[in-house]
C-alpha cells in the first residue's frame, strides 16, 4: 500500500475547508495509507525535523506539507533536498499563493492553495495516487485535463520559435515526454486544446 503523510500545523483550518468539516477530517485520518499529521503529532514531527532527524519522512511515497509550517521552522529547503535525494514527490499547500506551481525537474513538486488542497479533489487524488503512483501531481489541480498546460506551453513554443519543421529544442522534447509523446505538431496541439476547452 502506498503511504502518504499530510503535515498540517493548523487543524482548525483543515476542519474549516475540508468537505463535511469534522467528519471529513475523521475520514481523512481513517483513510488507509494516509497519516494525517496534526496536533501533537505535527509538533513532534516538526521538532524532529528541526533536530535534523529526517527519518520521520522515510517510507512515504508522497509528502504533503502546509508550507508555512515548514517556513516558520526554516525547513523548506531541507525538505526540498530530502525529496530531491529520495525522489519522493512533494506537495505544498499555502494560503499565500493562489497560483498552481508545478515542476518535475530534480523532483516532482506541486504548490497549490489551501482551498484547492482541502477540496473534494483531495480524496479523489489520494484514491487515484494509490492506484497509480506514477500519476503526475498536476493531476491534483486539473484532473483529467492535466495535459492542458503542457499542450498550451508546447503550442506557444512552436508559435514563438516557428519550430514546426524541426522541433528539436530540449525543452520541447522534455515536454513531449511528459505527455507520453515523441513529438506533436502545432495542428495536433490546437486540436487537442480545442477539444478540452469545449468541454470546460
Amino acid at each position: 500500500m502506498k503511504k502518504i503523510i499530510i503535515v498540517e500545523d493548523r487543524p482548525e483550518r483543515q476542519e474549516q475547508y475540508i468537505p463535511d468539516g469534522k467528519h471529513g477530517v475523521e475520514k481523512l485520518s481513517a483513510t488507509p495509507g494516509v497519516f494525517n499529521c496534526i496536533g501533537q503529532d505535527c509538533k513532534n514531527h516538526l521538532d524532529r525535523l528541526a533536530q535534523g532527524d529526517f527519518t520521520v519522512l522515510d517510507g512515504y511515497d508522497l509528502i504533503i506539507y502546509h508550507r508555512s509550517a515548514l517556513h516558520k521552522s526554516g525547513l523548506v529547503n531541507d525538505v526540498n533536498q530530502y525529496c530531491q535525494s529520495t525522489q519522493v514527490p512533494l506537495i505544498h499547500f499555502t494560503g499565500g499563493e493562489s497560483s498552481v506551481i508545478y515542476s518535475h525537474s530534480g523532483f516532482e513538486y506541486l504548490l497549490i492553495s489551501s482551498r484547492l488542497f482541502y477540496s473534494s479533489r483531495l480524496f479523489d487524488f489520494i484514491d487515484s495516487f494509490r492506484k497509480n503512483p506514477t500519476l503526475p501531481l498536476i493531476h491534483f489541480a486539473y484532473g483529467d485535463n492535466w495535459r492542458l498546460p503542457y499542450y498550451l506551453r508546447l503550442r506557444n513554443m512552436l508559435w514563438q520559435d516557428q519550430l514546426e519543421a524541426t522541433p528539436l529544442l530540449p525543452d520541447y522534447q522534455e515536454l513531449c515526454e511528459s505527455i507520453g509523446k515523441e513529438s506533436i505538431s502545432y495542428a495536433e496541439l490546437t486540436l487537442e486544446i480545442r477539444k478540452m476547452v469545449e468541454l470546460i
Partner: protein, 244 residues
Amino acid sequence: MKEILFIGIDIPQGLEAMAQYEDLRPGLDELRSEDFSYDDFIHEGLSGLLKDNNYQLIVLPYSLDISNYLNFTGIRVGLHIRLTPNWRHQQKPLLFLGPESSKEIIKLAPNAHLFMTSGIFNSSKNDAESVARQIAWIQQNKPGISAAEYQDFITKTHITPPDFYDNRHSIANEWGMHRLDEIAGTHLLNGEKEASHNLYFKYLIAKNAHSRLRNPAVEKIEKQYRVELKGLTIKGKIDLSKFK
C-alpha cells in the same frame, strides 16, 4: 529612452532600437523557495523598471510561467500595471501576443475580464512585420486610456482575495488598518512591502480611491495636528506577514 517594453517575449527584428526586453520569469528554484509569491516577484521585477521609464506601450505574452501555463501570469502582470499608480503606466496600452484564441482566454484565464476593457490589445500573429504594424497602429490610434476608461476598467475588474483570509472580518480589519494609516497620514505601513505588493490590495486601493474620501479643507487642518500624532503602533493580532 526606449518607447516599448517587451516582457518575456523576444523583440522582433527591426524594433530593437525602440524596444527594451525584460524577462520576468522566475526560475524553478525560486518557484520552490520557501516564501515565493507571484505578486512579490512581479512587483519587485517591474518596480524599478517602470518607475524610472516612460514606455508608450508594453508587449507581453498571456503566460510567463515555465511551470504551469494555466496560471496566465502575463495577464496578472497586466493587472499589476493597471493597478499600481507609483509605476506611472496605469493608462498605457498593453499588447498581448500568443496563439490563444479569445475563447480559450475567456474559458481558461482567471482574470480574463482584463480583455473586456479599453487599451488592451491582442494578436496571434508572430511575424515581425505584423507585430510592428500593430504597434504602429496602437501608438497612432490609442496611445493611452482616458480617466473615464480607467474607471470603467475598475468597474469591470474583480480580483478575488487570497486564501489566507479566514473570513471577511480579517479582510476588513487589515483594510481598515491600511486606510487609517493612509487617511491619518502616518504612513507607517509604507515600509511593509507585503501590503503594497498584493494584487488584491492594489485592487482595493484603486477601487476605493483615496481622493474620493478626503476633503481638501480637512487635509489643510490635518497638517496642523499631524505633527502631534506620533503615529500608529501595530499591536495585537494583526499579522502583516499574511500579505505575503
